[in-house]
Amino acid sequence: MAERSFQHEIGLLRLGEGETFRGEGILAVTKALLQSGVTYVGGYQGAPVSHLMDVLIDAEDLLAELGVHVEAATNEAGAAALLAASLAYPVRGAVTWKSVVGTNVASDALSNLASPGVIGGALIIIGEDYGDGASVIQERSHAFAMKSSLWLLDPRPHLPSIVHMVEQGFELSEASNTPVMVELRIKACHVTGSFQTKANRAGAKLQAPAAFDYGRLSHPPSTFAHEVAKVESRLPAARAFIREHKLNEVFPGSRSDVGIIVQGGLYNSLMRALAKLGLADALGNSQIPIYCLNVTWPLVPEEVAEFCAGKNAVLMVEEGTPEYLEQSLSLMMRQADIQTRLHGKDCLPQAGEYTADVLVAGLARFLESGPGRQLAADTEARARTAATLLDAPLPGRPPGFCTGCPERPVFSALKLAQQEIGQTHVAADIGCHSFGTLPPFSMGNSILGFGMSLASAAAISSVTGKRPVAVMGDGGFWHNGIISGVAGSLFNKGDGVLVILQNGYTSATGQQFMPSTLAEGHRNETPMDIEKTLKVMGVKWLRTVRSYSVATMRETLKEAIRGAGKGLRVIIADGECQLARQRRVKAEDAARLKAGERVIRVRYGVDDDICSGDHACIRLSGCPSLTIKPNPDPLRDDPVASVIPSCVGCGLCGEVAHAAALCPSFWRAEVIQNPTRFDLWLDGLRRRVIGWMQGRARA
């Protein structure tokens, strides 16, 4: 379950033979898995692949019909370990996560899986979070394929190609006893398109438990045999399969002197660049022959030789660093004694996304084309001119805490605490709370990975002499922080403050459930409780504070940071994710209103004649609903604070005004809908008395 209902998407997953699917790339992959007859699917959420798991978890009925097991793993290592089913049994399965970060976490299990190899098709769908819009470090998942001998598919961003490669991926995996990674970049996950569907295939029937086979264990001496098998049997089998089934595509062209080798995922950008240079049309007909690598690992030497031999030069279009493919090609051509010149990162940038504009410049360099260089120069000049249309750069608009987010007040409190007790080292983490690193808070000295904040603060107090503050979400706690952070700190008698933001979901990825989620109909029978867990682990100093209580939180933080003695101090900042809460509350309130029941709607506001336009309240909040408007005072100019109707009445404005003793301009209004007779009587009485007092005042 996640942010919304996926009934429409589930309908698409149910499409039968010869129907037309229209939708996003990642959903097409999900459908392809079902068409391939998977027995199990698992994963850990993260953009851009969250959708795959979200939809499947919501599709209980369909999966029950097909006999598919779905596992919402608690981290990527758990998801990768799930593939052990295909190690021991001839059953197909797939897992998914965000890469490169998820692959990092999964890599221990992946190595141990890749060594013995698989007998059932095993696919790993990775969302390659690279380039424009990426939220993680910029590294290539390619390295994992190379070092563990996993095969890496990089299909063209075209739904029929993506679906075909998923289906072929299972075959390849089985033909070469190797797990296969399918890499989709961010935009490919969200690209829309259509393909002709096939009927879904049920998962494998029940099997007898596998017999003991020491050779299937990644344990010596089997591991030595595995290493030999990887190069002597699995690699040749894979290359033969790729060649036989034409997984890579060659698009012919009229020119025989040059050629372009491209990662499948970059094919569309390449074609646009060629079209801009007048070397291709919009329908994919190119003058320059193209070798499109829908499989980027392993490379097939025979195919490479066939494409490159006889040409003067080829260009390898390969995104990211280092240039693994270019290195391999170079080696292959050297060994085959092919004298064709190889270009790549000498023409194209070492780092950054390869958009069509970037490729035009690279192609112009590769082709030594005068008009091409001119086009590239014009484009660059255009960007410069456009940027000078404004005198000052535009303020950025990064994603931030939502309206009413329960995590924002914790940073308000931390900022106020720091104003009193001075700067503290703040170890930030992955999750919505990483928005605390942005204005107006700008807090966080490091981010070391999901659930790693406390571990990353372990050596800090010996450096600064002060207790550091580690911020972690409940998602990060269960993913990793509980062991790497809490257990590590307790075991080492560490000294530090851990603030756990308990909002009940992994919110940044779309409010998926996680072990301590307490949502209706979800695992109420086994709710894992963070506070109880910490107590059992031996945390002595433990406070749970309502996250909106800014003054209490500030005092608790001060006490934790400055208090005497040593040891881990944990503050659980408790407040449900406001997006999830609003979805529930809005529906409940609407139903109660309809039934004629009394419903109170809360909104905050600012007296615009009392606000003096200093915006200290905004510097302690940054809420999207707390904004500014022109000053109504005829004698003042600075804009005043204003609360807009999207306010959900979380209470932070009042709490901050109180905790920081800011200004008296905030008010809180309760609108009583469907008032009772008592409400109306009281309201009438108040109006009469106040009216009388006002009359007297005027008189």
């Binding site: 690209v191 094919y267 079209a275 003058q287 255009r382 709607r601 007296d607």
Partner: protein, 503 residues
């Protein structure tokens, strides 16, 4: 190679929660229903609701049926200068798309709402951090070939929908895409959500694209002071001021009579009169008329109580929270007067020793009395009425005496500066804007002003500095004081001024 044309390229620039995704889906579905090859993609990133989000759509203008089984290869991101249509939900995001270079001054048509949603960086400034809207508009005009710009937020509000439906109507009416307006409209119906209100919004957008652009709201955001007994007589005495300054001073007179009494209003007029004897410059007099009125109506507990019990206030709140007739509204206020604010009401001989002790003890900024008051409850209202009723006492309060001394000092500085140059007079007068607010904000503003007064205004007003340098110094110091609440910017700027002045 076939000489097939290029696809039409669309950028939808939105912010999380504004329905950019739905708008994109409507466009994609409309293109699909028209038998055209279409592809969209996006970088929605994390699920948050505030960041800028861009959707990219390519539509191939030749119907699929005429391509002989071939399929166009569509790109996943815009190329610089090759976007045919930019659709933006807000003015700054429209300008961002243009200044990123996506648009071309000839090819690109832009459809955007002119309302502003301010970025955090704009909102958190201590003064006015809003990006200049005229510059945004000018950049859009310079960078695009054609445009449809109007306040679609307003239109959406009147239709009861969100801005995306209005934008869809505007796209449909633009005639830039080979898709019939009815086909776009059908997608709203097919979507099945909020169909009625979305269709109303769609039609407003469609009409606007056909030339029937809703007139911008003519209502000024300024709320003039209501007439008050005793102010007319004072206003008649303002004839000595140039017209521009006089209009401002009339507001000031009304404000101060309401704030204190007619006698206080008279003091305001006399102060202006004294300055007018020094300079007849309209700019100086207008600026001082404005800031003097604000400074004289300094915010104390009495004033806050008066504004909180103003009869018009509850109506404003009811309108703001959209309360229906018959729905009771309970209003709570968050009051937390600090030690300074409480002492401000006491006579000087009592307040001074307390404040001195508090500052020595380091608890001046910490002592505060927090209260939530039920503003329209009988007890809460009576309490605030009582406080507002202390108005006559104000003249004897510590703060009143302190403020009058500060005002006289500032006026004297403006006078000397204006004698040297009216422009310098304006700059010095403008420094009054640093003093505002309550509690810590007021303390900080006061101390910043005082530092600038001693280090910059005083030497500038004596004429020992060259005029150009003096003008720059005062303006820079004022801007620096508003740059950061910690005062680091002011520190640096004052040091730089000292250094330059010494050189």
């Amino acid at each position: 190679m076939s000489p097939i044309s290029r696809p039409l390229c669309l950028v939808v620039a939105a912010m999380g929660g504004e329905g950019g995704g739905v708008l994109t889906d409507w466009i994609v579905e409309a293109a699909n229903a028209s038998g055209l090859a279409v592809q969209s993609t996006s970088v929605p990133g994390v699920a948050q609701r505030t960041g800028a989000t861009t959707y990219y759509v390519e539509i191939f203008p030749t119907p699929l049926a005429e391509l002989g089984g071939a399929e166009p290869i569509l790109a996943l991101s815009p190329s610089l200068g090759e976007v045919d249509l930019i659709v933006a939900t807000e003015l700054m995001e429209a300008a961002r798309s243009v200044t990123r270079g996506w648009s071309d001054p000839e090819r690109t048509h832009l459809i955007a709402s002119t309302h502003r949603v301010h970025a955090v960086a704009e909102k958190m400034e201590m003064g006015d951090g809003r990006y200049d809207e005229e510059q945004l508009q000018a950049a859009i005009v310079a960078g695009t070939g054609g445009r449809l710009l109007f306040d679609m937020e307003q239109a959406a509000k009147s239709a009861g929908c969100i801005v995306n439906a209005v934008l869809l109507g505007a796209v449909a009416g633009s005639g830039l895409l080979p898709i019939a307006p009815e086909t776009f409209e059908e997608q709203i119906v097919a979507g099945g959500k909020a169909v009625e209100s979305n269709l109303r919004g769609f039609r407003l957008g469609l009409q606007a694209a056909r030339g029937d652009i809703p007139a911008p709201s003519a209502v000024s955001h300024k709320r003039p002071h209501p007439p008050v007994a005793g102010a007319e007589i004072l206003m008649e005495r303002l004839a000595f001021l140039p017209a521009g300054a006089r209009a401002v001073a009339e507001e000031g007179a009304k404000r101060l009579v309401a704030y204190q009494d007619a006698r206080y209003g008279r003091l305001y007029v006399e102060r202006l009169d004294a300055l007018a004897a020094i300079t007849g410059d309209e700019a100086v007099l207008a600026r001082v008329a404005k800031h003097l009125a604000v400074r004289m109506s300094f915010e104390d507990v009495i004033q806050v109580a008066r504004l909180k019990t103003d009869p018009a206030r509850l109506d404003r709140i009811r309108a703001e929270v959209a309360a229906r007739p018959g729905q009771p509204v309970v209003v709570r206020d968050f009051l937390k007067p600090g030690l300074e604010e409480v002492c401000a009401l006491l006579p000087g001989f009592v307040a001074r020793p307390i404040l001195a002790a508090a500052h020595r003890g380091g608890w001046a900024g910490k002592a505060a009395w927090g209260r939530q008051i039920n503003a329209n409850g009988i007890f809460g209202f009576a309490t605030m009425r009582l406080l507002a009723g202390l108005k006559p006492w104000r003249r004897h309060s510590h703060r009143f005496v302190q403020e009058q001394a500060g005002i006289e000092d500032w006026l004297a500085a403006v006078g000397s500066a204006a004698r040297l140059s009216p422009a310098l007079g304006v700059e010095v007068a403008e420094c009054a804007r640093l003093i505002k607010g309550y509690g810590g904000t007021w303390t900080r503003g006061m101390s910043n002003f005082q530092r600038i007064r001693d280090a910059v205004i005083a030497p500038a007003a004596t004429g020992i500095w060259p005029l150009a340098f003096a003008l720059d110094a005062v303006a820079n110091a004022r801007a620096a004081a508003l740059a950061d609440p910690e005062g680091k910017g002011l520190e640096r700027t004052l040091a730089a001024i000292r250094e330059k002045a010494a050189a």
